[in-house]
Structure formats: structure tokens, C-alpha cells
Point group: C2
Amino acid sequence: MKLGVNLCFAIKRWIDGPQLAEIVTDKLGLEYVQYTWDLTDPWWPEAPRDRMAVAYAEAFRNAGLTVESTFGGLASYTYNHFLAPTDELRRLGQEHLRRAIDMTAAMQVPAAGMPLGSYSAADAVNPARREEIYKIAKGLLVELTGHAKKRGLSTLLIEPVPVGTEFPASAQDARRLMRDLDGQTEIPVRLLVDWGHALFEPLFGSDANMDLWMAQCGDYIHSFHIQQTDGQLDRHWSFTQKGVVTRERLEEHWHKYKLMQQTYFMEIIYPFESTDEFVLHDIVEATRMLKRVQPAQIAGDAQ
Amino acid sequence: MKLGVNLCFAIKRWIDGPQLAEIVTDKLGLEYVQYTWDLTDPWWPEAPRDRMAVAYAEAFRNAGLTVESTFGGLASYTYNHFLAPTDELRRLGQEHLRRAIDMTAAMQVPAAGMPLGSYSAADAVNPARREEIYKIAKGLLVELTGHAKKRGLSTLLIEPVPVGTEFPASAQDARRLMRDLDGQTEIPVRLLVDWGHALFEPLFGSDANMDLWMAQCGDYIHSFHIQQTDGQLDRHWSFTQKGVVTRERLEEHWHKYKLMQQTYFMEIIYPFESTDEFVLHDIVEATRMLKRVQPAQIAGDAQ
């Protein structure tokens, strides 16, 4: 399994590039990294923002790490973005992603992504409004693919979320978005699928299984988030906790689909009040557990 | 008990001013509101940001609500701000609060606040660095009180957090900050104390009690956040859940200290994946439970 780590575990704690790179290489023993916008806010003024983001990127490269993509985190997910009820808010959503694309380009990272956005409570229960806003959102996203191409990015990513008032939520939603964008965009828009989102039972019921996601939109999946969860809330627990994302389940999936390109980024969100000592110890332990995911057949093929 | 509500329950859901005002007045039956920056990001471009923030404020006023203060939420708390390791990051923290002050002034709201910031993991274990950065942070905050005064604000608020790598965390920390700022600022800087933070046992042990907080810094407390918690993590649960912030405890506190001016703002953070129906039903129920907090003596005095 091509294992990587989203840097959300480090926010507010290890915010010096070389030091963070050392944690990922020496303590976690990983090569693939997804940078989180929670380290440098896309809304910050460009000059200091890009100076700091580039310093992170250079530190990671110097340590031999590959930053595959940059991604929205907690701060980004707080707002409605592309599916907001007003044109003014949707334009701010577009501007948010545009700024993140600029930051990503400055870092010389090829891909950037986020969840698309959230309908308001009023719009969410109005199918006609949902459809109207979805079409506008698609247009705004298509516009941005032109900007992303000019800035040198090769892919934009959209992450489905386990929230009925957002889009895409289900595998069917995600497939629709991919089909609707096919041939419309200057660079490909692909999916980043979070296992904890896909396995959220209160919303998806028996559709909360990765085989359905692979069948519906496997061809469009660029990468994964993995997190431990009980399937009842979007937990983002560590793999040191018990849950439904077991080693056996990950092995079976990897064995079945043999996804050699798609990185599985751990996205573990620790409470801010957990101590730095605990978080560092725990992420090391979680990584060690996930490294044991090695289906016999593929391990055999590689020999 | 002067009960109010922080609008964080509404983010991404009820983001239309008149509709949100109606929920607070008609469904919750409350008058006092704390606006959260998670509705309009201080980093957004000023013109649309202030247009939207002012529209919220006007809708609230038209409905007879009083917005006592504006406050940092999830997005703001994601970054290190005033206690960051570099001058560049600390200046961004100052700029963040400056922009929030400008937004608050446009809304004609008299107070704004947030937690002060977070040390990096490396600085947090270095007492000399902590002290050095604390002094710089104080200077940046004092500078801002001049700006806040010019813009017409009467108070800035700092919220202690239950995190050993931030400042202020303990009641003693909070008292020190207040004493250090006394006489140095153009407008008063006061504390907003979150009960769930103050009662966090893993960090504070037997000091996790409100009497200690009142003894140490009661004179500086401008307002409270209240949330349900088990005292083991910073839960921000609803009062429909069981925990250590009981009705009896709130009644005893109010009876003992008779705080008639300090508003107790419910700050309940719902998972994004909770449905709008659940959240609305639950916040109504939580508010109903808290309205029963009426110490006999003060109720008697008012008759």
C-alpha cells in the first residue's frame, strides 16, 4: 500500500519545515506527503504566505519527501464555498481555491483540492435550488481549471464528504460530478476519497462500503484519506484506536484492486488539547501499524 | 443567569441573517448573541466581508437582539497567531485580529476576541523562548488596543484555553496577562472564560474548578462560554448530554457570585455531519434546559 501522511497532525505544533520533514522521514519513515492549508492559510497576503509555503516545500524536497498535493483542512472546511446560497459567497469560495492553487504552484506541487462546498439548510431541502447552485458551482470550478493549468498544476481534487447537505456526498454524487466535468476542464478534476467518509453509515447505510465506491467511481479516484472511525461520525481517529478500518480490510482492498499509484494519506485529527508528546508517539505507532498492510500477492510480485 | 448563544451552532447551516435572527428569538427565546468569525472570515476581502457581516448585524438588531461581541471560532483557532515562533507569523496573527476588529466595528459591535495563540512544540518546552515571545505578543496586542479604540470598540477579549502549549491556559496565566496589561492598553482587555476549558482535569487537576478561576481573575471576567464536557477533553457538547457542567453547578455559581452583567454564552460545537434537523432540535432543547437555571435568591430579589 502506497502510504502517505496528511500533515494535519502537525498543525500548531511542528511548524518548522526542516523539523517537520525530519519527523516524517526519520520518525514515520514515509516518503509521500499531503500538505494542509492549515499550515499556511490561502487567505493570508501572498508574499508572506508563499514565502512560508515555499520554505516548507523546499525543506520537504531537501529531505527526499514528495509532496503530492495540497489540501483544505479545518479552517477551509468551516465555510460554504462553491455551494453557498449567494453569488458573493460562492465567488469567495472560488477565490479561496484560486489562492490555494497559487500557493500550491509556488510550492511546485502538482495538485490541490478540497471538498466542493455546503448548501445552506434552506437550499439543502430544495431540489431545484440544489440543482441551480450545483450548475453554477460547476462553472466556477471549470473556470478555475484554466487558472490552475496556467499556474502549472496538473490536477484538481474534490473530496466527497459524509454530509447530506453538501455535494458530492455519496459515490453516486461523486460519479455524477466526474461525468459532468469530463471533457469540460483544462486539467483533470479527480476525486480524493476519505474512507471514513465513505463508510459513514448514518447517511449511506448499506452503501457504506468501499466496493461500491470503487464500482461507482474507482476510475476517478486519485488518492485516499484513511482514518480510523466507528462509522457513526466522521472521527478522524488514529489507527491506534479500534474501529471499522482494520488492517484486514485495508489489505483486502489493496489486494483486490491493486492500486499502485493512489496514495493512502493518513488524515488523523488530534484534539488541540492532546499533548505534543502524545501526538508524536501516537502518529509513530499508527504509522507502524499501517506499514504492516502488505498483501502477500503484491509483496510477492515485487520480489 | 444572563444566558446568550454563540452562533457557532449555525455555521454552514443557517447563514441568512433574518432567518438566523428568527431562530435565536423565536426558537431559542434569547436576546444576547455572540457572533462567530466562522460566519464571515476576517481574512476575506473587506468589501464583501463587511457587507455580509453588517447584514447579519442589522438583521439581529431589527429582531431586537443584542450582539455583545464577536469571537474567533474553528478557522481562527487553527493557527498560532500571537505566540507563533516567527515574527512573520506573529504579525499575521496581529493582522488577523486587526481585520476582525475592523469587521466588528463595521457591525457596530463593541467587543471582539479570541485565544491569544499557540507556541510551537519546540518553543513550548523552552521557558526562555516562551517568555521572549510572550513579551512580543503583549506588545502586539497593546498596539492593537489603539486601533480598536480608534474604530470605536470598547473592549478586547482574550480566551484562556486548556492547552499547556498555549497562553493563557491556567487561571494564574490569565491573571498574569491581565495584570501585565493593566494600564498599558488604550481600551480594556478582559477575559472570556470557557467553563469547559477551566474544568479540564488532565491539565489543571484539582485547580479545575470555577471558584479558583473566580478567586484568581474574577474581576477581569467579561463573559463566559458554557459547554457540556466530561472534563477530559474540550468537548463543546450540548447540554442535552450528561457531563460535569450540571444545572446545579451553574445555579450554585450564579447564586454565589451574582454576576448580573457577565453573559453566559452557550458555545456548542456540533459535528458537521449532524443533520440540520438534529442540530436545531437539540439547541432548542439545550437552551430550554439552561433557562431553568434560576437560583431562588436572585429570582426572589427580582420579584
